[in-house]
Subunit: 530 residues, 2 copies
């Protein structure tokens, strides 16, 4: 069809910038630009990247906190047909290197304070053709070469014709730590991102969120984390005021939320815990009527109650790196709408119900839907227009993810009689701490190399603040020394092999492990002992 | 991509029926079925049509008022890859024949009361293979053969595998009367309908409509008229209670609206006029807080004020048969949100601003955007994901419609400094006086606010010196006084709202207007009388 209108990311801007040219995008409430200025900067950045020789399909990494410049990259990079790689800055350097090498990144946009991290391991990054550095202070560190100043690229440029791209062009990629040691790459097309944004807006407009374009959005989901749940696209599509928090700092976040009258946010449970535990939270937020979409882990009921006591309404969301991410929201269906407020509040912190265009089922091992009885456990499988089509360069992983045309989430859930799902168990072996997976197999591998350790299994112990924290069970011989094991593990933190927050909270010596029929350590009885 | 999720119409039902199985679809508030029952009936109908031998690409006409059965056809026919032809039942028989023959319809779903209309001209319809008749009374007239009873087709059926269809499969077709005598056929794909529904929901959730799934929708846009503005798809996608009015009858409509607590409707200005002119309207609707989306013609200010006086909030929408139809809504942008209520109300009855994914421009003859100064007149051209790709079997018409990748609407508009467009005329209706356009819609709007004026239409009368001069036709009540009307209009000249040469040469009081099949004032007979 000759006049087909491709669902590409540039289309998000067209009507929104036209209708709301003076709407504000604010960095920490202190550096504001309008939608019109943002649109100009995005276009200039796109022109500059093209002039730099970047071509369709080239991967461009971004290493940054949640900033306006990052947001500009979210649009400009896909707009020229290049691929935005949102690098997980909480990875240890070795895994950052791994993901960038695996993605075949050729260019990097980087904030000055991350430059030393890379510069220490400069030789490893020889595959990078150019570093695009920025500094709020204006002083660009000279340690990465060749480099250009990001801020020169968003200045007024002679227009260049943007390449024509189809909606099936890859727009973004990032890496996710699953059950196995090495992170897996996922990727999303323009079409997937546009449809996810549109369906998100439709879903978030339902009660009790009732998203309006007059809401003020300040997400606290890192921009390296599953497109910050798509908020950089949906917020602008909706024409809302958008506040970017920079590096997360609770007192600063509270003061920005108060000053900018933020009404909607999104975060993992551990960030919500940190915010409401701050003694200033109640005073700062009492007039905002803040609604918080909580994802990346179930909302403990106690946390929702505490949040509610200082005027924060929580609503659950669910998805994964592989799903762009939103699959379900704890919004009210027709039956729940008819209940009283007390009863309603139980539903909005469940994992939720599928949003429009999401076909989600909880199935048994034969692929049959489990009864909606709140006790039959099944795996969540899903079809939707915005699911990653593959793990990058991982045929085996892709085949496991996609089976019979359904994406297998590895999440176990029950369904209540109203159709609301509740996840009861996470992916078998992973520990999720502060919204981030800690790959237990990596820890087990390292612990197993310490002197005196025989066998090891790491499992998650639930934790009020972090959701889960890792605990290691070990069997040992007479050469074992606990202090040596701890030093052993800390040495991997120092060398950048693992992140500090991955270190187990406890090492518990036991006599022997229960084994499964195939001879593997059975982790279920271990979890029961926590 | 193997796991691509096609945007087909069946996907609208999946999450909505799953989440809201007990939500109600009601025919006139007296025959209710649940979403779950509806879904079952739709699937049974699809199976039955397949068993009847209907295949992908076959055209199936529907001849009916706005009923639940029609709604079932909206889903079941496209779901088997066939094409739903929504026949304009207000056409004269000859044009019904023309459109059905031109569309190459092979099957017809028809309500008993329309059977005589067809039976009279039976021989003309020999190209129809089977008539699918239904009757609320249960008595199927035997005059059309071969025939089957619709109600047998929605009964429980052995499942048949539905054919796999892509999102680019044609789902619907219908005919639109243009400037020339013969109606033109347009068609829409599954993808276009799904995207239109999703973007409509997102747009309608903005203020002052603020559509919620707890709203009760009763559209008064006929189902043969541009998919009833997409409401049969968007309402179900949103999970709302849906009331179908059957044949339009104002007292009945009012009683249903009261009984079912209808909160949202959609209609053309003349239907709104009929409703609010009914003496029972105020009593019936005062507690509904009814919001009405008004399209198919500008909302005269006088009508909006009258509607508001009985508690009805009007909001403009704009589109055409060629555009599925929604392009703009009179929803509030960021700047308008900041205004006081009085000022806001001026904007919501303008033609509006483009919804998400719509790229709309008002351009001069060179294709350059006109300044946003509320006075420079240009043509609306548009790109969006849901525009008809062609006029059926009309290459010349298609080429005229699509020029340089933009759809040319033939509507003339101005843009105010906030970006809101206001249609001032259809290109074909415009009065050109001394080489200048006189916008008839602006005149009609002002005349409508004069005391004693009911309805108004301004047309051009040929004039030796000026080419054309405007003449106003009006219907009036007993408060009308011609001298007062003239003074009323002159005051707008004095205040600079209109130019002196725009003043109509004559005001002609008539008894009533002829209406088109879609309920708009038909200007053709007026011109003939000049």
């Amino acid at each position: 069809m000759s006049n087909r209108y491709e669902l590409t990311i540039d289309k998000i801007l067209i009507s929104s910038v036209r209708n709301n040219p003076d709407q504000i995008i604010s960095y920490q409430g202190r550096e504001n630009i309008t939608y019109k200025e943002f649109n100009d900067r995005v276009r200039n950045l796109a022109f500059s990247l093209l002039k730099m020789g970047i071509r369709k399909g080239d991967r461009i990494a971004v290493i940054d906190w949640d900033t306006t410049r990052y947001l500009e990259a979210y649009y400009a990079i896909p707009m020229i047909g290049a691929v935005l790689h949102t690098v997980n800055i909480r990875y240890p350097p070795e895994m950052i290197f791994y993901s960038m090498q695996h993605a075949e990144d050729r260019y990097v946009i980087i904030r000055d304070e991350f430059v030393p991290l890379i510069a220490q391991n400069k030789a490893m990054f020889s595959f990078i053709r150019k570093w695009i550095v920025y500094s709020e202070s204006g002083k660009i560190p000279g340690t990465l070469e060749p480099s250009v100043n990001f801020d020169d690229l968003v200045k007024s440029q002679d227009p260049v014709k943007l390449p024509e791209i189809t909606e099936d062009t890859i727009a973004t990629t990032f890496y996710t730590s699953g059950t196995t040691g090495l992170p897996k790459g996922v990727s999303f097309t323009h079409r997937q991102i546009v449809l996810h944004a549109l369906a998100s807006i439709a879903g978030l407009s339902d009660q009790p969120i009732g998203l309006k374009s007059s809401d003020v959005m300040m997400p606290l989901v890192p921009m390296f984390h599953v497109h910050s749940w798509g908020i950089p696209y949906s917020t602008i599509m909706k024409g809302m005021k958008y506040i970017l928090p920079g590096r997360y700092d609770v007192p600063l976040i509270l003061s920005i939320m108060k000053k900018e009258k933020v009404t909607v946010s999104a975060m993992v449970p551990s960030i919500l815990y940190m915010i409401i535990s701050n003694p200033d939270a109640s005073g700062a937020l009492k007039e905002n009527h803040l609604k918080v979409i909580v994802g990346g882990g179930a909302i403990p009921k106690g946390l929702a109650v505490k949040a509610s006591s200082i005027g924060i309404d929580t609503v659950a969301g669910y998805g994964m790196s592989e799903t762009a991410p939103i699959l379900t929201l704890g919004t009210y269906t027709q039956k729940v709408m008819e209940m009283d407020e007390q009863k309603k509040s139980e539903f909005r912190i469940k994992t939720g119900v599928p949003i429009s265009l999401v076909d989600l089922r909880v199935v048994d091992r034969e692929g049959k839907e489990v009864p909606w009885d709140t006790k039959s456990i099944g795996e969540i499988v899903v079809r939707a227009p915005w699911l990653t089509q593959e793990y990058v360069k991982d045929k085996e992983g892709t085949e496991k993810l996609w089976n019979n045309g359904w994406m297998h989430t590895g999440d176990l859930a029950v369904v209540d009689s109203y159709g609301y799902i509740s996840i009861v168990d996470r992916e078998k072996d992973a520990v999720k701490s502060g919204g981030e997976f800690i790959p237990t197999l990596v820890l087990e591998d390292l612990i197993s190399t310490a002197t005196g350790v025989n066998e090891v299994a790491v499992v998650g112990r639930s934790h009020e603040k972090w959701g889960e924290r890792p605990v290691a069970f070990i069997t040992v011989n007479d050469k074992f020394n606990l202090e040596n094991l701890k030093k052993h593990m800390e040495s991997y933190v120092e060398s950048g092999r693992i992140a500090k927050f991955w270190l187990p909270d406890d090492y518990m010596v036991i006599k022997e492990f229960t084994k499964t029929s195939t001879g593997k350590i059975d982790k279920k009885p271990l979890r029961k002992n926590l």
